[in-house]
């Protein structure tokens, strides 16, 4: 499928619309459907650029959040009566914490409510992750108004340095593997995280310095060499997003 050249805000607005609908409908099935639609858009529309590769990581992060959210939802919280699947030992809590229980019977209802809440939260994360992956952060910076300078710098750093870090993760893991360390599993994260954090900090500072020395935000007004135009295609996509909100 042909890749459309869209306004950098289009996918962000669309994702926002989808996220609102997911929150409004509050149904895990709708949330999963939204993730599926996003996946299809990503596969057909993403560019072969560093930020295009960040979607898999969004999915991984979402999966972790879903796991922890469900685990905590099952362990801690208000008991919901229903069919008991299995029972966990109850941890005694002081009497001034009424209504909260750690452990206890795990009912089918409790498990499913924890899961469905988790799915909805994750779907919203995935929807925004998809927008980040579909839009070039550099183009996004160009359309942001100048008076939100600090915000603009933060956005560029978050959206341009972080996806590049996905490439760095690969490189560092490869190096660690060559040192004969295991590159999979939880303990490897620490080994990757430290060189990664170091690099991301250094890079962010370097980018900020480069933008500053080139006069970014020095003038209150900015001219456009090649204006980014809002086309009818952008309007169509945004309208479809609004329609989704209206229908749900």
């Amino acid at each position: 499928m042909k890749k459309f050249s869209l306004h950098p805000l289009t996918w962000w607005i669309w994702s926002l619309a989808i996220a609102i609908s997911v929150a409004r409908v509050n149904s895990p099935i709708f949330a999963i459907a939204a993730v599926g639609v996003m996946g299809i858009i990503i596969i057909t529309q993403r560019e072969d650029a560093p930020w295009g590769k960040s979607f898999t990581w969004t999915l991984k992060v979402a999966a972790w959040i879903l796991f922890f959210r469900s685990a905590i939802g099952v362990l801690i919280g208000v008991p919901i009566p229903g069919t008991t699947i299995f029972s966990l030992p109850i941890m005694p809590l002081p009497h001034w914490m009424p209504g909260i229980r750690i452990g206890g019977a795990v009912t089918l209802e409790r498990l499913s409510s924890a899961l469905s809440e988790g799915v909805i939260i994750c779907a919203i994360i995935v929807v925004f992750g998809a927008a980040a992956s579909l839009t070039s952060p550099h183009r996004l910076l160009r359309v942001l108004p100048i008076y939100i300078y600090e915000f603009g710098v933060a956005v560029v750093i978050a959206t341009s340095v972080l996806p590049q870090l996905v490439t760095s993760v690969g490189r560092i893991r490869q190096a660690q593997r060559l040192r004969g360390q295991k590159a999979k599993g939880f303990s490897s994260y620490k080994r990757v995280a430290i060189p990664l954090l170091e690099e991301s900090l250094a890079r962010s500072l370097e980018l900020a310095a480069a933008m500053d020395s080139r006069g970014y935000a020095f003038s209150r007004k900015r001219s456009r060499y090649r204006p980014i135009l809002w086309t009818s295609r952008d309007t169509a996509i945004v309208l479809s997003g609004v329609l989704v909100i209206a229908l749900t």
């Binding site: 650029a49 560093p50 070039s136 550099h138 183009r139 910076l141 160009r142 560029v156 490189r171 560092i172 490869q174 190096a175 660690q176 593997r177 060559l178 040192r179 004969g180 295991k182 620490k190 080994r191 990757v192 430290i194 060189p195 170091e198 890079r203 500072l205 370097e206 980018l207 900020a208 310095a209 480069a210 933008m211 500053d212 020395s213 080139r214 006069g215 970014y216 935000a217 020095f218 003038s219 007004k221 900015r222 001219s223 456009r224 060499y225 090649r226």
Partner: protein, 535 residues
């Protein structure tokens, strides 16, 4: 144009002063070269010019830096954007747009220049830097040399009076470096732009420099013409070392001057010393019909080569010739490859854990990728445990390689050379059968390179190991390698003893060989050895 008056600089939490009472006036159209050991403050000096130091980095600045009458005390870096173009060490990290044209427009858009001016200036800059064919390309897909040119072009569109470049050729192959430097030369001569460069590879730039600022690292600085500084400077290109060895005064800094001065010497020598050691016949790495492709792009086309015991093989070639692909394939972490690689008849892909450490040692382009502990001590402990050797052995090794590193230091606070030393001692603690290094000399000064040369030669000879090193640094190859494999577009175009391969290509010939040609000497050491034989 640029005026440093009584400038002193101290960074917070640091006990040493970077600069002390520096007085320097750079006039219009001058090309000034900043040299000094790694970590001595070359970058700081460059960043003082447009006020990034101290506005961005913090630190205490005494005295005053002014450019064209504007003091950096009063004006922030953004306010000097129309006056100063600054190109960082790694231009990729400073790019703010995806497409070449947009990158060029960025600074002009920020200063709200009218559209017609922008169009005109972008055309000019594209023409001047020969980038017209690349104007709509994505920056990420360009080669290192092209990226460097884009970075310079995007500074030039502002019509700056001053251009500041931090190690503009460190990542480039000799040919691309030559291109970039001749462009700078043209800027100085045709447009009278003031250029300030920091560079380690003096042999590449010294011919262009009007003046040199030598930074010692303890605050002291020396300023003078290239010839003045080179009389005493410990940092000097091979040609100057040669002049010192031959006790030639005023020998000049170019190959031409040096040849005139050494004519007699060359004619008096007829013997060509043959220091060829018969290569060992025990194969260590056997590469058979190796092909690697990235997407639809071939990186290596059916390469066959055998590397023997005791050999130090330099893999050379232009940026993007397939050097890294070959190295990662040897190390067994390459992707989408056809063909076979055997190291002592083991498949390097299937190695894990201890057996991997004992077979292949690999130093990546960023040695810090290997390091993750919070201190040198912990890093060494981990290596001892991994290699199952007595506690303290790795640190002892590190102390031999790079003396004077404190155990408590955080690996991040080490200098480039020390960090490479630490990574090397960790890898060498397992005593691997093969050592692979991917461009280890980026940002290393001559001292650190000398250390690296000694370590690698010692390792290869005393343990009969094979070393494979990818590098752009011809002088390092001349000092170090016994054999050179030359890659171009994924094919081996030359493979043989260092002397033969290096001398056959003028762009890749080291300085000494250019001076001494047709006598096949590559390094100052060769000359000393041969002269010693004669007398």
């Amino acid at each position: 144009m640029i005026k440093f008056s009584n400038v002193s600089l101290v960074y917070p939490n640091s006990t040493t002063t970077v600069l002390e009472n520096l007085n320097l006036e750079i006039t219009e159209g001058e090309l000034v070269l900043v040299i000094g050991p790694t970590g001595s403050g070359k970058s700081s000096l460059l960043r003082l010019i447009n006020g990034l130091v101290p506005h961005h980095t913090g630190g205490i600045l005494a005295g005053d830096v002014s450019v064209n009458g504007l003091s950096t005390r009063e004006v922030k870096p953004g306010g000097l954007a129309h006056l100063i173009g600054i190109v960082g060490q790694n231009p990729m990290n400073g790019f703010v747009a995806d497409i070449v044209e947009e990158e060029l427009a960025f600074a002009m858009e920020a200063l709200n220049l009218p559209n017609e001016t922008m169009r005109k200036r972008i055309e000019e800059a594209l023409d001047f830097m020969s980038l017209t064919t690349l104007r709509t390309r994505a920056i990420a897909t360009l080669s290192g040399g092209e990226q460097q040119r884009v970075a310079i072009a995007s500074a030039l569109v502002m019509h700056p009076k001053v251009l500041v470049l931090d190690e503009p050729t460190s990542a480039l192959d000799p040919i691309a470096a030559e291109e970039v430097l001749s462009i700078l030369q043209r800027l100085v001569h045709d447009l009278s732009i003031t250029v300030v460069i920091a560079e380690h590879k003096l042999e590449r730039v010294i011919g262009f420099a009007d003046r040199i600022v030598y930074i010692n690292g303890d605050g002291r600085t020396e300023v003078g013409t290239a010839a003045e500084i080179m009389k005493t400077s410990p940092i000097a290109p091979p040609i100057v070392h040669l002049a010192r060895v031959l006790a030639l005064d005023n020998a000049g800094l170019s190959v031409r001057d040096m040849r005139r001065n050494t004519q007699e010497l060359r004619e008096s020598i007829s013997i060509s010393p043959s220091n060829h050691i018969a290569p060992s016949t025990i194969p260590v790495i056997e590469i058979k019909q190796l092909s690697v492709t990235y997407g639809s792009k071939p990186a290596l086309n059916s390469i066959t080569a055998t590397i023997f015991d005791n050999e130090i093989v330099a893999v050379m070639g232009r940026n993007g010739a397939g050097k890294s692909s070959l190295l990662t394939s040897i190390a067994g972490v390459g992707s989408s490859e056809v063909g076979s690689i055997r190291i002592h008849s083991l498949d390097s892909k299937k190695l894990t854990g201890k057996s991997r450490r004992e077979t292949i040692g690999y130093i990546p382009q960023e040695p810090s990728d290997l390091l993750y502990a919070q201190s040198v001590a912990k890093e060494c402990e981990q290596a001892d445990k991994d290699s199952e050797i007595e506690a303290g052995t790795t640190f002892e090794l590190l102390n031999q390689l790079v003396p004077g590193i404190s155990l408590r230091t955080h690996p991040r606070d080490l200098s480039e050379g020390q960090r490479l030393g630490l990574a090397l001692s960790i890898v060498l603690s397992s005593n691997p059968k093969v050592l692979v290094l991917d461009e280890p000399t980026r940002g290393l000064d001559y001292e650190a390179k000398k250390m690296l040369t000694q370590i690698l030669i010692g390792f290869a000879q005393s343990f009969n190991r094979a070393v494979v090193i990818a590098t752009h640094d011809v002088e390092l190859v001349a000092e170090l390698a016994t054999r050179v494999i030359f890659l171009a577009d994924g094919d081996i175009v030359a493979d043989g003893p260092t002397v033969d391969v290096l001398l056959s290509s003028p762009a890749f010939a080291p300085q000494i060989s250019k001076v001494m040609s047709p006598v096949p000497w590559l390094t100052v050491r060769d000359v000393i050895a041969a002269l010693g034989q004669k007398t």
